[in-house]
């Protein structure tokens, strides 16, 4: 049954895309947890609806348009954080609802059933096309390269911003890039997990890992392992039992989270 699953091209694409996105979102999720910005992923994913609606109306490929829209929203949040006294969560709340409202209005101009929209809302393993996989692979490589080069500085500025500035970390530029990377990674994952569920892949692995370790090295390894386990087990279960892929991945991730909570209660934290 498992071997049969990999004989289908759409499953191969879903597994490759899922494995790549798990690494990307888990690594970025560490900063989401550290900087207490879980709402950011949720807000960006929801705001991408407007980008998808524009693409559907224009007859264009939804993923590149949604990516561009989400990156734009992320940069507006970054700019507003620095030019207003409003809290980040307030700004995200305003922009994400405004963007969704725009998407809903634009969707009302289309007629009949919109399978593309349903796919983006809830995710589907059938939805990953070869062109999507190429975009996911290229974007993952670019963001992973940036993360590898900047990881120490990103952790330093997230933990001790002033010290990082004094040490020469370009905090403003790196924060803007982090927002863009988060927006891009979130939208890339929307096809598998859906707008409504994608932010869980940012939060669940790092939150589960946080309970198990005491060192940063252990944290990164545990978050990546949990994310891969969550996505690959979820996709397999989704195929075997004909369940919605996004929802199955999140249920598996939530079970892993509670398992981590139980394990952390039973033994002292270790690195």
């Amino acid at each position: 049954m498992i071997m049969e699953m990999f004989s289908f091209a759409f499953m191969q694409r879903a597994f490759v895309a899922g494995a790549l996105l798990a690494v990307l979102l888990a690594a970025l999720g560490i900063f989401v947890t550290l900087r207490k910005m879980a709402f950011f992923g949720d807000g960006i994913a929801h705001s991408s609806l407007a980008g998808i609606a524009i693409a559907v109306l224009a007859g264009a490929a939804p993923l590149p348009v949604a990516l561009a829209w989400a990156v734009g929203v992320a940069l507006i949040i970054f700019w507003l954080e620095r030019s207003t006294k409003l809290a980040s969560d307030t700004l995200i709340g305003i922009l994400f609802t405004a963007s969704m409202a725009l998407g809903v209005i634009m969707m009302s101009f289309t007629h009949g059933y919109q399978p593309e929209l349903v796919t983006y809302l809830f995710g589907s393993i059938l939805a990953i096309q070869s062109s999507d996989l190429t975009i996911i692979a290229v974007m993952t490589a670019v963001i992973a390269a940036w993360l590898a080069l900047s990881f120490r500085g990103l952790i330093y500025m997230s933990l001790a911003k002033e010290n990082a500035v004094v040490a020469g970390v370009p905090v403003n530029i790196q924060t803007a890039i982090l927002y863009v990377a988060l927006a891009a990674a979130t939208v890339l994952g929307v096809k598998i997990l859906g707008i409504i569920l994608i932010s869980a892949l940012l939060v669940l692995p790092s939150a589960a890992a946080l309970m198990l370790v005491s060192s940063f090295r252990g944290y990164l390894a545990a978050a990546l392992a949990i994310a891969e386990l969550m996505v690959l087990t979820g996709l397999t279960a989704s195929y075997l039992y004909d369940l919605p892929s996004g929802a199955t991945i999140i249920v598996v991730g939530t079970l892993l989270f509670f398992l981590a909570a139980v394990v952390s209660r039973l033994r002292p934290a270790a690195g």
């Binding site: 933990l159 001790a160 010290n163 500035v165 004094v166 040490a167 946080l210 940063f216 690195g271």
Partner: protein, 269 residues
């Protein structure tokens, strides 16, 4: 980027820190006005003043964290950004999520220059009076005093020429305070490190530093403690509740006696 050459501690070189007629403001709120002083290379200096007097703002302006509205700040004759590798800094407060899994060693390594050996981390941890195995402890499990020592250890990790400390002894117990004072004296005398710190402990300042800078939005005094910290200046800075008493038999490097302002204390001069 090439590392700037280390300036030598000599009389003819530029001052380690030169602040000239500086004004710093947050919008319409002028926090510091017309501040001028120089700290020569190899000196130990302290900024004192009541809460809200602009001490931390002054430090942040020197570190390039806050722009100055007017005036000029030079470090070794250059803009701070050109010589940042020569400066170590420990902030007054370090608020972070204590559940975040990072060890003391990993936290220290965030600030380690690529050319500094990894063994330097344990070396500096011991130098601030912590056990070597502290490097393996989760940062969030440390006490306030231990965390303060880790911040100081991180500030001296790359053997800086200038050490800037914002209330370094806050949260440290009496034994830790003595270790801290010995460390400052050691760094200054052994390596010629220039030290600028904010302190509320006038007794310690009187013994430890070469020059004191009294700030309360404006500069009220500057010079060697014996000359600058007159009873009138102390009164002007902290009000009549703080008085000074001569304590015979104490010299530079001795343990602090009375400290903290806001009530009658026995600061020695």
């Amino acid at each position: 980027m090439p590392r700037p050459s280390r300036p030598t501690n000599n009389q003819g070189g530029p001052p380690a820190i030169a602040v000239k007629d500086c004004t710093v403001a947050y919008g319409a709120n002028v926090v510091l006005e017309g501040i001028s002083f120089e700290i020569a290379q190899g000196q130990v200096a302290a900024v004192i003043g009541p809460n809200g007097s602009g001490k931390t703002t002054l430090i942040k302006a020197i570190l390039g964290l806050i722009p100055v509205r007017s005036g000029e700040i030079r470090v070794f004759g250059k803009h701070f950004h050109a010589v940042r590798d020569l400066v170590g800094y420990a902030p007054q407060r370090f608020d972070f999520d204590r559940s975040f899994p990072i060890t003391v060693g990993e936290f220290m390594n965030l600030a380690r220059h690529p050319h500094s050996p990894a063994s330097r981390v344990a070396e500096k941890i011991k130098e601030v009076g912590l056990a070597a195995q502290t490097v393996r402890v989760q940062l969030g499990t440390l006490s306030g005093g231990q965390l303060q020592r880790v911040l100081i250890a991180q500030a001296i990790l790359n053997n800086p020429q200038i050490l800037i400390l914002d209330e370094p002894a806050s949260g440290i117990d009496i034994a830790g305070e003595a270790t801290f004072q010995e460390l400052i004296a050691h760094l200054n005398q052994e390596y010629g490190t220039t030290v600028l710190m904010i302190s509320h402990d006038i007794a310690m300042v009187s013994r430890l530093v070469d020059n004191v800078i009294c700030v309360n939005r404006q500069m009220l005094c500057y010079g060697p403690p014996k000359e600058a910290l007159t009873a009138r200046k102390i009164d002007e800075l902290f009000g009549p509740a703080v008085e000074l008493y001569e304590h015979p038999g104490h010299k530079r490097g001795d343990r602090a006696h009375g400290h903290e302002h806001g009530q009658r204390t026995d600061h020695e001069l």
